[in-house]
């Protein structure tokens, strides 16, 4: 983030808009004194609260000063009751004999007052459930309101931050939340509201600040600015050079047909996706975080429970069987490089060969018992050396441990493993996440070459729109687990912005 300024008067609802990685959460983490900021290098600049400069070392200090935050991930203790969660560490307590001697930790919790306080807070946010129920088992919408009630209950609340509070709510719950937010503002609290839903911003925010790549693009009055304009501001990159985009006629041969795919992937659920991937094309899958774009490849490859129908090469693909997918000629470079993509402890050469060794029985000497076929060290080594040369993997040699490589080179190892499988359709998710600029260009070049020269059909999932637009022939935008629309890479910025906000039809 660089040079961001922002002023929120008391009683205002201020929306913070931007794509993933624009810096919204970073800003809020700074405000709330989250330790992650200090751990990753801290910040420079000044924050004033009621005219006084502040600098929080921990969320505790921020709460003390009157800043509340409703987190994107719930910060609730599932085994505790609602009232206990609301009053956690702020329990009303009576002094006891023991506490006189041993200090505050031994005061007795006043359960009646705790319940009353919790009740009042819950009523304010309009949640009618019994405050004595445990949090575990509540519907997510209710958990969100418990979280808000906890902030409401804090006296001397000056600033309340909502980090995508409506992402997990149903329409009517979201409606109620917005009403609650208005009431807060009326009572003199400054409300900071992070969201991806432009309609909500228009409905409720007094002003909106748009961030892009860590900078403020502009402050607008959402009531008088069109959604299209806001979307443009959010995306607004100079259109990347569209390198030799090809148009595949709708009747072109399908390499892979996905019908009504549903994937149960936590954080990236896919509800109902139907897509046709045409032979030889590069299909992009885009969308904001949490909308389900990541889940599609994971579902087809059998890594997360999925149902629906996937037809590959004219035959139906059995879902939930990673092995079947590999054996049929699909391959996947996962977005989760460290978690799924690599054996960090093992050598570069083994990482490159392992999937092919496992699924296709390559790099093995002959032996009567298939399971006991010994490794063909020579074939392994020469294959790895070839890949290291072709993909320009910077390593001390094929025997080096993969975890000692840089992120970019690890990604190349992942690509090398997928290429070793000689797939006909290759899924690549977030190919350039967390790698440096040089390696980025190289990885994209490898992907293009793979598609153009080897004829591998690519399904490229990425949070970086610019990347998708530079590489893909078509780009499907996923919103709420469904295909919102499919756009050509040279479609206007606003079209992408709107589709990602789920407002394709609003324009």
């Amino acid at each position: 983030m660089k040079g961001v300024s922002l002023a929120v008067p008391a009683g205002e609802i201020h929306a913070l808009l931007g794509e993933n990685g624009a810096g919204k959460s970073t800003l809020m983490n700074i405000l709330f004194g989250m330790p992650v900021i200090r751990e990753t290098g801290g910040y420079t600049g000044e924050i004033l609260l009621d005219g006084r400069p502040i600098r929080f070392g921990s969320p505790g200090e921020a709460i003390e000063a009157g800043i509340g935050m409703v987190h994107q991930e719930f910060m609730l203790l599932p085994g505790f009751r609602i009232a206990e969660n609301i009053k956690l560490n702020r329990e009303p307590a009576r002094r006891t004999l023991l506490s006189r001697v041993l200090g505050r930790g031994f005061e007795r919790v006043d359960q009646r007052r705790m319940r009353e306080d919790a009740r009042r807070a819950l009523d304010r946010v309009g949640l009618g459930v019994d405050e004595w129920l445990p949090v575990a088992g509540l519907p997510v919408g209710h958990m969100q309101f418990v979280e808000i009630a906890r902030e409401v209950d804090k006296e001397q609340l000056r600033v309340l931050i909502f980090d995508e509070p409506t992402a997990v709510l149903t329409e009517s719950e979201a409606e109620r939340l917005l009403t609650t937010m208005r009431e807060f503002a009326r009572s003199g609290v400054a409300v900071l509201f992070i969201t991806h839903r432009l309609e909500e911003v228009r409905a409720i925010a007094d002003r909106a600040t748009v961030l892009r790549d860590g900078e403020v693009v502009g402050v607008v009055d959402p009531k008088t600015t069109t959604v299209v304009r806001i979307a443009e501001m959010m995306v607004g990159r100079p259109a990347a050079e569209v390198a030799g985009r090809r148009v595949f006629p709708p009747g072109a041969e399908a390499a892979l047909t996905i019908e009504h795919l549903r994937v149960d992937m936590p954080g990236e659920p896919v509800e109902d996706v139907s897509l046709v991937v045409r032979r030889g094309e590069i299909l992009g899958i885009g969308g904001l975080a949490g909308q389900g774009k990541i889940g599609i490849a994971n579902g087809v490859m059998g890594l997360y429970p999925a149902n629906g129908r996937v037809v590959f090469d004219g035959r139906e693909l059995l879902l939930n069987r990673p092995r079947e997918a590999l054996e049929r000629g699909l391959a996947f470079v996962s977005e989760d490089r460290r978690g799924v993509g690599l054996l960090g402890e093992e050598s570069v050469e083994l990482n490159i060969a392992l999937s092919a060794l496992e699924a296709q029985g390559r790099f093995l000497h002959a032996f009567p018992v298939a399971a006991l076929q010994p490794l063909d060290q020579y074939a392994l080594r020469s294959h790895a050396e070839g890949m290291i040369r072709d993909l320009d993997i910077r390593t001390t040699g094929p025997a080096q441990q993969v975890r000692r490589l840089s992120g970019g080179n690890q990604q190349k190892v992942c690509l090398a493993r997928a290429m070793t499988l000689r797939p006909r359709v290759l899924f690549v998710s977030e190919p350039t996440r967390g790698i440096d600029v040089g390696a980025k260009a190289r990885v994209l070049e490898i992907l293009t070459r793979l598609n153009r020269e080897e004829g591998v059909t690519l399904v490229l999932t990425s949070s970086e729109l610019a990347e998708l637009r530079a590489l893909c022939d078509r780009i499907a935008i996923i919103y709420r687990g469904r295909v919102e629309t499919i756009l050509p890479p040279d479609a206007p910025d606003a079209a992408f912005g709107l589709a990602m906000a789920g407002e394709e039809h609003a324009a």
Partner: protein, 342 residues
Amino acid sequence: MKLPAALREFGLPRLLIAAFLAALFAVAVATKMNLAILVEDCIARVARNGILVLALLPAIQGGLGLNFGLPVGIICGLIGCVVALNSGIPGVAGVATAMGIGVGLAVPVGAAYGWLLNRTRGQEMMVGTYLGFALVSGMSIFWLLAPFHNPTLVWAIGGKGLRTTLSLGGIYDKILDRWLAFDFGGVTIPTGALLAFLGLCGVVWLFFRTRMGITIAAARSNPRFAMAAGISDERTRVQAAVLTTVLGAIGIVVYSQSFGFVQLYTAPLLMAFPAIACILIGGATVSRATIGNVLLGTILFQSILTTALPVTSQVIEGDISETARLIIQNGMILYALTRVSK
């Protein structure tokens, strides 16, 4: 502390233990003890215990942690021994019968053990410990009631139930130890048992370079990666459990022929602990072990056990070797568990 890279690789605990061992030998030399006997004992014990230590390796490489359930395999081997003794087959054929039956039992039992560990994921070491304890106690009843009638095996009085210690004298006592045994500067080398140990080390080393072995190690190293590569880590864990149990069965047969006795009832109860201490002293961790760790650890730990008793009794009145053994053994296990990382 700054150590040269080579020494750091070797590890501080191993340095200390090696230094301790060197000190013991220094004292032995200074007090003019019979070094040949000392060295001979050390080698014999390495050969005797080696396979039991090796048995832990597949469990660690398969993601099951330290196999505190080693007695499961040991009991399979003991049943093999008892059946072989009962039928009175002497010599090599007797050892082969014991091993054959032990391994035959260990395969299904190991698979069941693996199944249990899959149901109790994340607590392999604790489950293994208690399963071992429970099984040893259960088997005590079996030894009492089992239908063996060979008079050399059952209690002399009453004629029912196996004795706690069965002598192998004249049957296959030291049959491997004596095979190709030779003298080297006054030290008798138990060639057969050493070859059995080293040979099995070679087999295990080779195994982890086969398709199945690589798969097992990969699933341990990163279960989610394995899944993405089409590997079922439940299956590889069962395979690892079978292997560790089979090696445990072979290990106890080799152990008993060298020791000269088959020990029943509660004897297997604590047998996993010294083996675990060995492999840890050798530099293995809860999640990674090599053949080198097995060899080095067995030599260091067993040598200390062997030399500590005579040397300390030479120097001071009384015996602290058992105490020293327990401190080193359990201290080593504790040390390894504090260093579990993930």
